[in-house]
């Protein structure tokens, strides 16, 4: 379970990027975190994976803080518009990512190649990342997020920059991972995909949580997109 209790984050002591956010995400569920640009989604996800710490409040992933090494062994994170070490090949980068985890260190080449096959960039495994398209980088970002077979997966805009085929493939992988009982937390702008994948959603606006619960309960008789736009405009 992911337990977020009253977390706040201020930048430069002025901007309240996240304001008193509380959420509970059940194990094995897919949680979609929505909000307009600048709402605080990325700030929140960075705190969840331990890149930054909240100014107030607490986060528990499983039974521990995300700052604990043991927690991070079980976390997979894909940042928004991922940038890589361009001079490395896709396979080298995945090997590098894998070696940073105790439980996946020394994974065989075949095992790593299997992951690259899963995200459909196996053919480009020996090409330098600088030659990759945006979509290929996105897939590599996804591959490194699952390289340690994590229990909790955090994805920041995972479908951004992918063509319809790529989006379908990544969605399929998310569904497979969900079936394996993993907990998935993802930020997205693409509401149709959120609707298709998520059990629960949270909506954040100007750093404050304005809704948290099942998708159907939020959208009522409208599409998620229409209800989302209507709700945000009314604030």
């Amino acid at each position: 379970m992911i337990l977020i209790k009253n977390i706040s984050k201020t930048y430069d002591g002025i901007t309240n990027a996240v304001d008193n956010l509380s959420l509970t995400i059940q194990s094995g569920s897919v949680f979609g975190f929505l909000g307009p640009n600048g709402a605080g989604k990325t700030t929140a996800i960075k705190m969840l994976v331990g890149i930054n710490t909240p100014d107030a409040g607490s986060i528990m992933i499983g039974d521990e803080s995300p700052l604990a090494v043991s927690t991070r062994e079980n976390i997979g994170f894909m940042p928004e518009e991922p940038h890589f070490y361009d001079q490395l090949t896709g396979l080298e980068f995945l090997e590098f990512s894998s070696d940073l985890f105790k439980n996946s260190r020394g994974k065989s080449k075949t095992e790593l190649e299997e992951i690259l096959k899963k995200v459909n960039i196996y053919e480009a495994r020996h090409s330098k990342i600088r030659t990759y398209s945006k979509g290929m980088k996105q897939r590599l970002g996804f591959a490194q997020a699952i390289v340690n077979d994590p229990t909790y997966i955090f994805l920041d805009e995972p479908l951004e920059g992918l063509d319809p085929i790529g989006r379908r493939e990544i969605k399929k992988i998310i569904e497979t991972i969900k079936e394996e009982g993993k907990t998935i937390f993802f930020n997205s702008h693409i509401l149709a995909d959120v609707e298709a994948l998520c059990d629960q959603i949270g909506i954040i606006h100007k750093g404050r949580l304005i809704y948290s619960g099942p998708v159907n309960q939020f959208r009522k008789d409208m599409s998620l997109e229409d209800q989302f736009v209507k709700t945000i405009k009314s604030l």
Binding site: K46, V49, R72, I75, P79, F84, Y85, Q87, L88, F101
Partner: protein
């Protein structure tokens, strides 16, 4: 420690494949080869000129490579957000700084040793003896580069690559003037003396690593003196890298 080494390996791979680095190394090798021509212009002092210019060339090109690779190393990591990958994994910010330092030092050392190999070959092919003393000079040069890499990483944490380059060049200049500054401090008034003494102890004394002139004149440096210089470099690097790590810890990513 394991993750530090994993980051160091990846940093080494990344930097050693930089095409601009290849360009600088090729240029350095051409320069080392050209010392033969310059040596032939002297009257009976060919090998002396080759050794003099060769060691100076290794130093200058080593410096260019160090500054070129070091100025952007942490800055790029933060700006391009590759730190997000690292810090969401069981990796501390200290691992990142130390890994970057070791990876870069390995890349600079390898390229410097390549230049040393070309230099030794040039000296032997020009009729000189195997210049084993120069190995010590280049080893101490690598120690100097280690200090500069640590300083570049420190600046790279909080400033732009251009500013980091300018500050490091200033420190390089001051660092080689420190023995003179110490002398000057002895003859100065009380306030100036304190300020100059503080400068002497805060800035890295890079003259400790410069034995090229002695080596060119076939003067051997004692093991004790070289060991003190190595110890000085290690202590300075540890302190600066620790400071860089503290600053990175405070940085909001």
């Amino acid at each position: 420690m394991k993750n530090t080494l994993v980051i160091a390996k990846s940093t080494f791979r990344q930097t050693i494949r930089d095409k601009i680095l290849y360009g600088i190394v090729v240029f350095a090798l051409i320069f080392l080869g050209s010392t033969v021509v310059l040596g032939s212009l002297s009257l009976g002092e060919e090998v002396f000129v080759i050794r003099n210019l060769g060691l100076a060339g290794i130093y200058i090109f080593g410096l260019i490579i160090t500054i070129f690779l070091g100025a952007t190393i942490v800055y790029d990591e933060v700006e391009k957000r590759t730190t997000y990958f690292l810090l969401s994994k069981p990796v501390s910010r200290a691992d990142v700084v130390m890994g970057k330092f070791l990876g870069l030092l390995a890349a600079v050392s390898i390229t410097t040793l390549l230049m040393l190999g070309a230099y030794l070959l040039t000296v032997v092919l020009s009729g000189g003896n195997f210049d084993y003393l120069s190995i010590g000079a280049v080893f101490l040069q690598i120690m100097e580069m280690a200090v500069l890499i640590a300083i570049l990483i420190l600046f790279s944490v909080f400033t732009t690559p251009l500013a980091a380059t300018i500050y490091t060049i200033l420190i390089l200049y001051i660092g080689h003037l420190l023995p003179l500054i110490k002398q000057y401090a002895l003859n100065s008034g009380l306030v100036a003396k304190y300020i100059l003494t503080a400068v002497y102890y805060i800035f890295p004394n890079l003259e400790k690593f410069d034995i090229r002139n002695l080596i060119v004149h076939q003067i051997q440096v004692s093991f004790k003196e070289s060991a003190i210089s190595v110890g000085y470099a290690v202590i300075y690097v540890v302190l600066v890298v620790y400071l860089a790590q503290l600053l990175l810890n405070k940085k909001e990513l």
